[in-house]
């Protein structure tokens, strides 16, 4: 069996610092599934809730969480499902079985993107210079999901309960993302765990 590599496999780690202002942790090999369907159709929403154990978030920029499964609202008929490592194939099969004969799409994006957690005392300053979106707590409550840009790369930003941000970034932009992060957090110190 071939070993798996994350999109951030080839990054060059910054010199270690004792009191880093920004901490990056990659949530490696999470299952990423894109789900599309009609939210007005109760047969669709009920079946999805049955499989995932949690109802789809229908309001814009919201999310839902149940155990290791997290659902992001992406647009009125599209969601991103983040599931535990290695379970995406089973979840996809379960969804297809439950949604048979419905007008839906389930796509496995696990190898196309990755989940990165950013935290630290200087996180707000980092987000201020990286994202065009206002990531201040007054505008970005816990559980909110925003698709926007992080520097010049597209990112789906989620606010975690502990105040840190989870970013979904594309595999093809991961090198760029990390080089930007390293540069932007130079003045605060960056630690990768």
């Amino acid at each position: 069996m071939t070993s798996m590599q994350t999109p951030l496999h080839n990054i060059t780690l910054p010199a270690s610092v004792s009191d880093a202002g920004v901490v990056m942790r990659e949530d490696k090999f999470r299952g990423h599934l894109n789900l599309r369907g009609n939210p007005q159709d109760a047969a669709f929403t009920d079946a999805v809730a049955q499989v995932l154990g949690v109802a789809l978030p229908l309001a814009p920029n919201t999310s839902a969480e149940q155990g290791s499964t997290r659902i992001y609202w992406l647009c009125p008929n599209e969601w991103l499902l983040l599931v535990a490592e290695g379970t995406q194939g089973q979840v996809e099969a379960d969804l297809r079985a439950a949604l048979a004969h419905q007008h839906i799409a389930v796509t496995d994006l696990s190898s196309g993107q990755t989940l990165v957690n950013l935290s630290g005392a200087k996180l707000d300053e980092l987000m201020m210079k990286s994202a065009v979106y206002d990531c201040h707590a007054s505008n970005f409550p816990v559980g909110k999901v925003v698709q926007t840009t992080f520097a010049k790369a597209g990112a789906t930003i989620y606010k975690c309960e502990d105040g840190s941000f989870d970013l979904v970034i594309r595999r093809s932009f991961s090198d760029y993302f990390f080089l930007w992060l390293k540069d932007a957090s130079k003045e605060y110190g960056l630690s990768v765990i």
Partner: protein
Amino acid sequence: MLHIYCPYCEEMREEEEFSYAGEAHIARPLDPESLTDAQWGDYVFFRTNPRGLHHEMWNHAAGCRRYFNVTRDTQTYVIHETYKMGEQPSVTGEKP
């Protein structure tokens, strides 16, 4: 930079997240075969270029990736309204 309200995300977002997608409300002819070349050329190539109110499409490219309509003043850049696909503008500049 423009601040644009996305009717799908229901939030004001920065212009950087959007891309312009041309004039709105251009209906594809139902029977293209019966059109003259001039009529077909008009549908494919020719657009209005008003000074003032313009109904146009934008794509929330870095966000929800939906297309929607914007009523914008081409002279002042004021955005009067944004509305979803399939809806009609409420600001048309015509006197009631």
